[in-house]
Amino acid sequence: MQTYDLEANGLRGLNETLHAQSGATNQTAWEVVNPKGSHAIAVGLDAPIEVTVKGSTGYYCAGMNQQATIRVEGSAGPGAAENMMSGTVIIDGDASQYAGATGHGGLLVIKGNASSRCGISMKGIDIVVHGNIGHMSAFMAQAGNLVVCGDAGDALGDSLYEARLFVRGSVKSLGADCIEKELRPEHIEILKDLLGRAGADAKPEEFKRYGSARQLYNFDVDNAAAY
């Protein structure tokens, strides 16, 4: 285990060191101490290493992650794991706005609650939130799965494309063009897999599925109010 003191050694050195790790490295486990809410911790990684951040982070922790497993032993500021491509990011606490925004792949697990716009414009990432999510989550979400074990706030899935949304609790309101859909056996399989990987104690059958009604895909003047 390598330990990096962020307060003492600075952000630049941390990211530079982590970027220098390749698939062949034997220094696979890293610990970042004294994060103290710093921004851009462990961004742009591209190696199968494990990074544990011992505390809470600021904006964009684990941004654009590829391959790495990054765990935050605290809460994460806005844009955690934004545009993630692959790998796993686990937030032990809560996540602020835009968690997993535009992510293309990989798994983001939020053990606490996620704020507004969780999964905004997601493009293939899987997100599992153990708690609740805030308003406008999955806005314009294009692909991937968003699993919420708690409740969802207002305007869930507004202007949704092809992402799948699963919510166990209540949904305050659905956004434009987002509707409840049948939970079929293939969805149960997806949920089983994701809940298992995210360590979430919930049964797939308890979830409801939401998706796009696909009514806004091509402009129609009679839908103008929804645009």
């Binding site: 961004v43 591209d46 964009y60 535009t102």
Partner: protein, 443 residues
């Protein structure tokens, strides 16, 4: 006396309800949807044509046309980046998305720009091999939609351009209608084929200048501070937006005035939102100067640049470089008279064709139709773009030498006068024949 002899009024067309306006009212009434089109503002606004260079005189001697050097090189991104962009000429190719443009058109832009020693820019829709492969220097746009955005491409880029706004539509997002969402475009954007795609107008994970600063930090961390980070703004509030971009840590500010082209947006947006390019330059330069950053953070101006004279005028007003979209498209064959009969069939004519969103471009540039795309020969079109860029550079050099400058950057506002009061006020250079411009103190 017969009735025929009574003098009659002649039919008078309204200056308010013009034929064009009336046609639009009828079109709107018939379809229920606003007019969407490509290109920039078509209305006449004060522009570089309203400025003139003074040339040399007794107090300023000129440089010899072909013998005395007039440098045209420019470095972009000298503030923070380890590897600034070094261009031979101060004219870059603006961001135009793959999706809006065909693959061969993107390749042509890359070839032409590289031969001329300048950079190209990706666009909404990600980086294509055609473009990366043929561009020696490629700027990677970071847009609200984040279509095709991935860190591998980010690391392959020579600079990053965070797009906050576009002159054609400050406050508006991209638009790509179903006809142009081919399999390849759909895959790059992670969207179903054939849908009308509207990109968001705001970034999904930041709002405001404080967040922008952190976003720039993140991008710089990911790329290890190697490459410059540009911020592209529309000509909305050029003084404040330039100030905020500089404070947020931009290496380069790209400022796009209202004549700037777009691939597709609402006509009402193109014609009625944003300020003319001419009106944006001095406030932006003022912002740079007020922060002691002029020439340290470079300013790239776009929106209606067509000739070497435009290049020289933008630079005289304080820009470090310019960027072209529409002119580059024309150089590679857009709106060419040789397709006139086909433009007619589409209800348009050479020079006016702007239904780029429909994907039926006879010139094969703004289309994803495989047959039409073949009309662009990337090698030949690239050569024409190279020629055009060279001509513009020669023109700008001609002017700079005549004004006695050995580098295009040495052009200055004192080399200019204005033909109209409006241009004098916007460019803050004297009205021709006077030493006065509106707003100048002491009058």
């Amino acid at each position: 006396m017969s009735d025929n002899n009574i003098p009659r009024t002649v039919p008078i067309q309204s200056a308010t309800f013009t034929n064009e306006i009336n046609a639009e009212i009828r079109r709107a009434a018939a379809t229920g949807i606003y007019d969407i089109r490509g290109g920039g503002a078509k209305r006449k606004v004060p522009h570089f044509d309203d400025l003139l260079f003074l040339g040399a005189s007794v107090s300023r001697y000129p440089l010899e046309g072909y013998r005395e050097k007039c440098d045209t090189s420019v470095l972009l991104g000298t503030r923070f980046a380890k590897n600034p962009i070094k261009l031979d000429i101060p004219i870059t190719i603006a961001g135009m998305s793959f999706g809006a443009l065909s693959g061969p058109a993107k390749e042509a832009l890359g070839r032409g720009a590289s031969m001329a020693g300048t950079s190209t820019t990706t666009g909404d829709g990600g980086m294509t091999q055609e473009e990366r492969g043929h561009s020696t220097q490629l700027v990677y746009q970071y847009l609200p939609s984040r279509y095709g955005m991935n860190p591998n491409d980010l690391r392959k880029a020579d600079a990053i351009e965070i797009v906050v706004g576009q002159g054609a539509k400050p406050g508006g997002g991209g638009m790509l209608l179903g006809q142009k969402i081919s399999d390849r475009v759909a895959e790059m954007r992670t969207l179903p084929k054939g849908i009308d795609q509207r990109s968001s107008c705001r970034h999904p994970d930041w709002t405001g200048p404080d967040d922008l600063e952190i976003k720039i930090l993140e991008l710089r961390e990911i790329t290890n501070g190697r490459i410059p980070i540009y911020v592209k703004i529309a000509g909305a509030r050029p003084y404040f937006d330039t100030t905020l971009a500089i404070k947020a840590g931009a290496d380069v500010v790209v400022l796009d005035g209202m004549q700037g082209g777009t691939a597709a947006t609402q006509d009402v947006f193109i014609e009625h939102v944003g300020q003319p390019t001419l009106a944006c330059i001095r406030p932006a330069v003022q912002a740079l100067q007020d922060l002691g950053m002029h020439r340290k953070v470079q300013l790239v101006i776009s929106g209606g640049i067509r000739t070497g004279a435009d290049v020289a005028k933008a630079m005289a007003l304080g820009a470090d470089a310019v960027s072209i979209g529409t002119a580059a498209m024309i150089a590679i064959g857009d709106n060419d008279p040789k397709w006139e009969s086909e433009y007619q069939k589409l209800g348009s004519t050479t020079g006016a064709y702007d239904d780029w969103h429909e994907g039926m471009d006879p010139a094969g540039i703004t289309t994803q139709n495989p047959e039409l795309m073949k009309r662009v020969d990337p090698v030949d079109a690239g050569r024409r773009l190279r020629n055009y860029l060279k001509v513009m550079t020669l023109e700008a050099q001609t002017i700079a030498r005549a004004c006695g400058h050995n580098h295009l950057h040495n052009l200055e506002p004192e080399d200019l006068c204005a033909l109209t009061m409006e241009a004098a006020a916007m460019a803050r250079v004297p009205l021709a024949g006077t030493d006065w411009y509106p707003g100048k103190a002491g009058f």
